[in-house]
């Protein structure tokens, strides 16, 4: 039996000159269709490297990624990425940034007016239609991430990859955007792999939390299933016993690992 997306015995070794650093060691993970998986771990442990391997932007040294039964080792729109620093093209308007992706992915399948509609539809999903003619430099950080999200969603990816998508935002904007992502996941049923270093965020959004050990040669230390029914309400969860227990588990894991680093 095979899962929807399988990260299969992945090792990653970076070679710089004559020094070799093993960043990831024997990572195996199965992700089900429609599942929301978070990867949490200390900074520098190799989370981004793992996400880039799934995206095809980095090649695994050993092992690989299997998506719907096919081995993938090149980047493609079926694994759309929302980068931490939004990476919108500054010379294009909000609309054109999304439209570029839509034209590229659906150029042959949809007519011109259908592509226009699809672009606007996705901007509407993230409530950014009002700023469609603005340039990235004219909108706030949270808005840029929304547009990045719209661009990724517009590709109709099999797996949506989020690399600390809310990392650079203030707490209120972050909460707002988390709610948007949660709502969209509920509505569209995307398969999501998200990197985060925020425990609350991981518990709030995820079906499963993958906790990574510290590098070098980081591994999956523990996997926690979050048994909280959806839709989830941020305010209700604050006092929810299951939520608090999950939060506790993750914090303990990270706290122990952190101590481990200090001792080393």
């Amino acid at each position: 039996m095979t899962s929807y997306c399988k990260i299969d015995h992945v090792d990653k070794v970076f070679t710089r000159g004559s020094t070799e650093t093993c960043v990831l060691k024997d990572i195996t993970l199965d992700i089900e269709k429609g599942e929301y998986v978070s990867i949490i771990g200390h900074s520098g442990c190799g989370k981004s490297t793992l996400l880039n391997i799934v995206a095809g932007l980095t090649q695994a040294t050993i092992g690989g990624v299997i998506l719907e039964g096919k081995h993938v080792d090149e980047p493609g729109p079926d694994r759309a990425v929302v980068f931490q620093n939004h990476s919108l093209l500054p010379w294009l308007t909000v609309y054109d940034n999304v439209r570029l992706a839509v034209d590229k992915v659906f150029g042959s399948k949809k007519s011109r007016s259908e592509r226009d509609e699809w672009t606007l539809h996705n901007l509407n999903l993230v409530q950014m239609t009002h700023a469609k003619d603005k340039r990235p430099s004219e909108i706030s950080g949270g808005m840029k991430q929304r547009v990045g999200l719209a661009r990724a969603l517009a590709m109709e990816p099999k797996v949506l990859l989020l690399d600390e998508p809310f990392g650079a935002l203030d707490a209120l904007t972050r909460a707002h955007l988390q709610d948007t992502v949660m709502g969209l996941h509920q509505k569209l049923g995307n398969t999501v792999m998200m990197i985060t270093h925020d425990v609350d965020e991981a518990v709030l959004l995820s079906d499963r939390i993958i906790m990574m050990t510290n590098g070098p040669a980081a591994q999956i230390g523990e996997i926690l299933t979050v048994p909280i029914a959806r839709p989830r309400k941020r305010l209700e969860l604050v006092t929810d016993a299951t939520f608090l227990k999950c939060r506790q588990r993750v914090l303990e894991f990270l706290y122990e690992r952190h101590r481990f680093v200090e001792a080393a």
Binding site: A55, G56, L57, P75, G76, P77, R79, A80, V81, F83, N85, S87, L89, P90, W91, L100, A101, K104, V105, R135, P136, S137, M155
Partner: protein
């Protein structure tokens, strides 16, 4: 502007509030009227002040410099003509840039246009060739490492030093002058374009990779817009060098350009004419630079930010 005026008016009225009711109500009556008037006036006044502060200082300086020049060159035995002499002797050149009185007796406007035409061709080729070659070089680490030192040496060679080689190769003055323009202005365009291509952020490359843009799409949709600020830096340096080069080249190749005019005036001892020609060259060079800079700010709108 309006905001600060309104604020200072309000804050000015605040200290009067604790004082007896009579004076505070007087302040309340007075405040709205001047507010409305100043709001109307400040915008116009700000515009006028802005324009004046841009125009008046250079004008004052020009008058001062001309006066000093006049005083220095009025004395008997002065080697250069004072402005008053230039005005009287080169009067026809100053007032009418576009007169035609004979094959070699034409207004400076015509001469500048002839020179500009050569610059347009030489610089046009340099821009096309420079951007194309810079794009190629910028994509290869080895081409960059190998060629950059060579270009850094070549770009320091004076335009005039290229002229004999150019004349030997083309055996005609017109293409030689154009080639000198080309060879002078092409280096900064190549170098800056290559650096711009090298500096395309990894983020944009990742976006292109996820979207699976092909080479042509990557070139037009990512490379060129991303490198545009660098390319325009090169183009702007290039246009300045072109204009420097054409004057020098024309002095030696002849024809009807502004450069040859100076050489001709020197040979026939028309010193005042040379000063007028220098003014033309300076102003046209300034306008060319502004033009490229203006084009750059239109084309790269939003690119530089963030």
């Amino acid at each position: 502007m309006n905001m600060t005026v309104a604020k200072s008016d309000i804050s000015a009225s605040i200290p009067s509030a604790p004082t007896p009711p009579a004076s505070s109500s007087a302040a309340a009556k007075i405040v709205p009227l001047p507010l409305r008037q100043t709001a109307m006036n400040t915008r116009i006044r700000a515009g006028l002040v802005g324009a004046a502060s841009a125009v008046i200082p250079p004008l004052v300086m020009i008058v001062l410099l001309l006066t000093a020049w006049q005083l220095l060159c009025m004395r008997p035995g002065a080697t250069l003509p004072p402005p008053s002499k230039i005005w009287t002797e080169a009067y026809d050149l100053i007032v009418d840039p576009f007169f035609v009185a004979g094959p070699q007796d034409i207004g400076l406007g015509w001469r500048v246009l002839t020179s500009l035409q050569r610059v347009a061709i030489g610089y046009g080729f340099a821009a096309l060739f420079g951007i194309a070659l810079g794009t190629l070089i910028g994509q290869s680490v080895w081409a960059m490492r190998g060629l950059d030192p060579i270009f850094q040496v070549l770009r320091t060679i004076s335009p005039l030093a290229w002229l004999p080689i150019s004349l030997a190769a083309f055996r005609d003055s017109q293409p030689s002058a154009i080639f000198v323009i080309f060879i002078t202005s092409v280096w900064p365009i190549i170098i800056n374009t290559a650096v711009g291509i090298r500096n395309i952020p990894q983020d944009y490359r990742n976006v292109a990779a996820v979207l699976q843009l092909n080479h042509l799409e990557f070139f037009w949709k990512i490379m060129i817009p991303s490198a545009a600020p660098y390319i325009f830096t090169g183009l702007r340096i290039g246009i300045g060098l072109s204009w420097l080069a054409i004057v020098a080249a024309e002095m030696l190749t002849g024809g009807v350009g502004i450069g040859f005019f100076i050489w001709d005036a020197w040979n026939s001892s028309r010193l005042p004419d040379i000063f007028i020609a220098l003014a033309y060259i300076g102003i046209v060079g300034f306008l060319l630079d502004r033009m490229v800079a203006g084009l750059a700010s239109i084309v790269t709108r939003g690119t530089a930010a963030n």
